[in-house]
């Protein structure tokens, strides 16, 4: 009962801590809106010249662009918080609807990448650390070093060359074969086939990071007293590794993976535009070409909110996993 109340107040406190972050993002967005070339109303309208004068006047009024900056800022914050992010003329849809439509594919890609990179990172890190200094360790470390230095978009293009153009195993782009009208499991399978290359591309870089982190964490834990104790009471090496060391070594990797959500969203801009994966990243890329800054600002705001929400969820899960955390 008491633990439950403690957790509730912890969640509440974390929620309150997220408020200044959201406000800071809004202020940043507002500043960028005014930094953009042209009048803010033109930026809000999406494309200069395509909006009618009446609409521009209405925009100016709604965002108070004829009033002092402080009022403008307040109105902007109010509009954004009520999810009134404006209208995209290029797509002929409100920005919120556009973003909501693209959220699913991006979340699918991110989640797959997260699972793939964390499991592969932990597995390979374990393999490398179990025989530190062996050829296997060297091989894995070199692999990690190279993956860490390769630009994401280039990995994507090279995978397309090998697996789509030369071997013809996997599709080059998109999320599903729309013309095939797959339904049920056939559709799931089709989407999964399209997901392989983008998820692999995005995973490689993070996997490299987790491999190195995992390897270092295991080597550090292996020198701890509790390992000596376990060995003294006669446990086998693999048992010590799997049920004692692994548990402690995984923590920094999970923490890092939580911190990386924002960076993952950034990486998805590049990967989605290589594979034409219809998520937020591709939308950002398209809005760059259309010079639709308002849409771009909306994507930035929504993805920052997404990161805040995910971090919050991770923290709450943490309190469930590790009873020591009660900060």
């Amino acid at each position: 009962m008491r633990a439950g109340a403690g957790r509730a107040s912890y969640v509440l406190r974390r929620l309150l801590q997220a408020v200044p972050v959201i406000v800071a993002i809004l202020v940043l967005n507002f500043l960028l809106l005014h930094l953009a070339p042209g009048d803010a109303a033109q930026v809000l309208a999406g494309e200069a010249g395509s909006a009618s004068p009446e609409y521009m006047a209405q925009l100016r009024h709604r965002f108070g662009l004829d009033r002092p900056v402080a009022v403008q800022l307040l109105l902007y914050v109010k509009n954004m918080l009520t999810l009134d992010l404006g209208f995209s003329f290029r797509h002929n849809l409100p920005v919120v609807e556009l973003i909501a439509g693209r959220l699913g594919p991006t979340l699918l890609l991110m989640l797959t990448t997260l699972v793939l990179s964390v499991t592969a990172g932990i597995g390979l890190g374990l393999l490398a650390a179990a025989r530190a200094g062996s050829w296997r360790d060297t091989l894995i470390s070199i692999l990690a070093l190279v993956s860490y230095a390769t630009p994401l978009f280039w990995v994507g293009l090279m995978l397309i060359v090998v697996f789509s153009l030369k071997l013809d195993w996997l599709p080059t782009s998109g999320m599903e074969t729309v013309a095939a009208f797959h339904e049920g499991w056939a559709r799931v399978l089709d989407i999964a086939r399209h997901l392989v290359l983008p998820a692999l591309t995005l995973s490689l870089f993070y996997m490299a990071l987790y491999v190195r982190l995992m390897r270092a964490a295991i080597l550090e834990q292996a020198g701890m007293d509790y390992v000596t104790t376990a060995r003294a009471k006669g446990l086998g090496e693999s048992r010590i590794m799997l049920s004692h060391v692994l548990r402690n070594a995984v923590l920094p990797v999970v923490t890092m993976a939580g911190v990386q959500v924002g960076s993952l969203l950034g990486g998805s801009v590049v990967v989605e535009s290589v594979f034409a994966w219809p998520g937020l990243g591709l939308l950002a890329f398209q809005s760059l070409f259309a010079r639709d800054f308002n849409l771009l600002l909306g994507i930035f705001f929504m993805s920052a909110c997404l990161v805040v929400a995910v971090n919050l969820a991770v923290d709450v899960v943490y309190t469930l996993l590790d009873p020591r955390i009660h900060a």
Binding site: P20, V21, A24, I25, L28, L32, L35, A36, P37, L145, V146, Y148, A149, T150, P151, L152, F153, W154, L157, M158, I160, V161, L165, L219, V259, G262, S263, L265, G266, G267, V269, V270, S273, V274, A284, F285, L288, F289, R291, F293, L296, L297, I299, F300, S303, A304, V307, V308, N311
Partner: protein
Amino acid sequence: MKRFWHRFARSRPGLLGVAILAVVVAVAVAAPVIFPGSPFRPVDRPFAPPFGRHLFGTDVLGRDVAAGIAHGARTSLTIGVLATSAAVLMGTLMGGLAGYYGGRVDDLLMRATEFFQTIPTFLFAILLVAILAPSVWSIVFAIAVVNWPTVARLVRGEFLAMRGREFVQAGVCMGMTDRRVIFRHILPNCLSPIIVTGSLIVATAILIESALSFLGLGDPNVMSWGFMIGSGRTFLRSAWWLCTIPGVAILLTVLAINLVGEGLNDALNPRLHKK
């Protein structure tokens, strides 16, 4: 210096990194001599395959890919070094102030760095460059803005640790000014971790620059590797070298810088080295 080099030379990956990096720097410096004129100028028929008349072939407009690689090396290294210098200066200043004085300044700084850890930084860099109009300076600015918090956190930690050490306390008791304590006594002792982190930021900066120019946000007046890959991706099937060669150039350069960074880390932190 000699002892430092001796320690550095013990790490073979570090030496490999220095060797690769030396080649890249040499090519970058010599680019206007080996390939005079603009790298955007057509020199031959389009799509000439590599290893013929032109070492790396030509692209869709008949531009020499090798010339692009050489001039791109200049761009990547310049932007990497400029952005890193800006980030390190800014980060050291902010982190140093926060770590030395603590209190309100420190709180504010920690909030700011947490903020930068939360927002999708690459997306932020894209926004900055798109809004400020793509140019070498806006790219340098954007990369510096997203990288300074890393340095600030590091320097803050170092300063905080140094603040309590006897030699610093002694300096304060002797009545030294804050400026003298900071610049003559604390900062020189924090230089090695700053140098190591800085070298790794150069690698990150080059990766960010290549991704930005791949997305079409490069400076339109200078050749860059990301731009070459971005404009060659349409011909992936017919002209493989257009994307492959600049990609290898980025990979080798970034790898070399990371290796040098690790070598520096081992040489500058001998305590960590004994494992």
